[in-house]
Symmetry: C2
Subunit: 198 residues, 2 copies
């Protein structure tokens, strides 16, 4: 008689991916304070020991989760650009408002991101990843702004301003969804871009 296996072996990469996703979900649901090895393991449906088998410490896993969230956002932004028409103004707008549509506008993702912000202070690994992510976003924005004939001397400031505006709207979208809907956030960014370009 063949008893069914008590557990299944998984491909290391898939298992890592599964753990990262579980970590992200826990981070969004319980915040930094509630994100423990046991909580993550339970969320992933594995034993606590397995987490330390794949990651030297729980901090490493959290850092990996942050990087994963980062590439997911990168991919979504890139997708938004690919779907946009060739007109440079339209491309800029598509990139700048992509943060207010799924999958970036997802409340879970925003909650996870806030958790990372809180961690960046004490974890150099997370802070470095944030700096990289932020710089990449700003650089992309500068390209798109330059294509819309924004003066080179004003590029840097314009990119910072738009980035800050997007972050602020994104944040408010997460913290109190009642006072701000995605459509309005999009409209605000559109107005701001109009002012910058004209």
């Amino acid at each position: 008689m063949s008893a069914k296996p008590a557990f299944r072996r998984a491909d290391p990469d898939l298992r890592r991916q599964s753990l990262i996703e579980a970590c992200t979900r826990v981070l969004a649901r319980l915040g930094v304070a509630g994100t423990s090895v046991r909580a993550i393991a339970q969320e992933a449906g594995v034993s606590p020991g397995l987490v330390n088998h794949y990651y030297a410490s729980v901090d490493d896993l959290v850092a990996a989760a942050y990087a994963e969230v980062g590439v997911r956002v990168d991919r979504a932004l890139e997708d938004a650009l690919c779907a946009a028409p060739l007109d440079s103004r339209a491309r800029l707008e598509a990139f700048a408002t992509a943060s207010f549509a799924p999958p970036i506008a997802d409340p879970q993702l925003l909650a996870t991101w806030i958790a990372f912000w809180g961690l960046a202070r004490s974890q150099p690994q997370i802070a470095a990843e944030h700096a990289r992510q932020y710089a990449a976003f700003r650089a992309r924005l500068e390209e798109l702004l330059a294509a819309c004939a924004v003066a080179p001397a004003k590029l840097g400031r314009a990119a910072i301003a738009v980035t800050a505006l997007i972050d602020g709207l994104w944040l408010e979208l997460c913290l109190s969804p009642d006072t701000l809907v995605p459509d309005e956030a999009r409209a605000i960014v559109r107005d701001s871009l109009d002012a910058l370009i004209s």
Copy 2:
């Protein structure tokens, strides 16, 4: 022979204030994860037990600290308005850029605020306080914008946009002070206000 006292009794209100300030400092230095009763007590120079003597739980103390930070910010904003000239454009600008000068621009305060954002998800008490604080800021901004002849129909959206911009700049100022200095944040807000009013 008079031995020096091992500890001093303090006025309950002063002691509470001292605990709140210690809590704020720990929150800024160690983040939410590192903010424990013992860490707060050590920061305040008292025994851990004293925290629970003044606050039923550590969550109550954190909530009190958030409220305290809130009124401190309110006071700073009000002070900025009082110090501004009577010209309505100058008053608007003073209010909108006050967040980039001490005491609001203090990195510690910003770090504390991020910690609160992370807590708002799971603590209704904190979430309610955030909503109150945010609504008050936006209402004040709407008044000042109205005084600058912004069309009533556009008031709401304008206030949200400026608030988001300030929040985003403030956030970046805290997370990576290298890429953004207060002066530039001020200039960005100034430009944005120009665009809104003209």
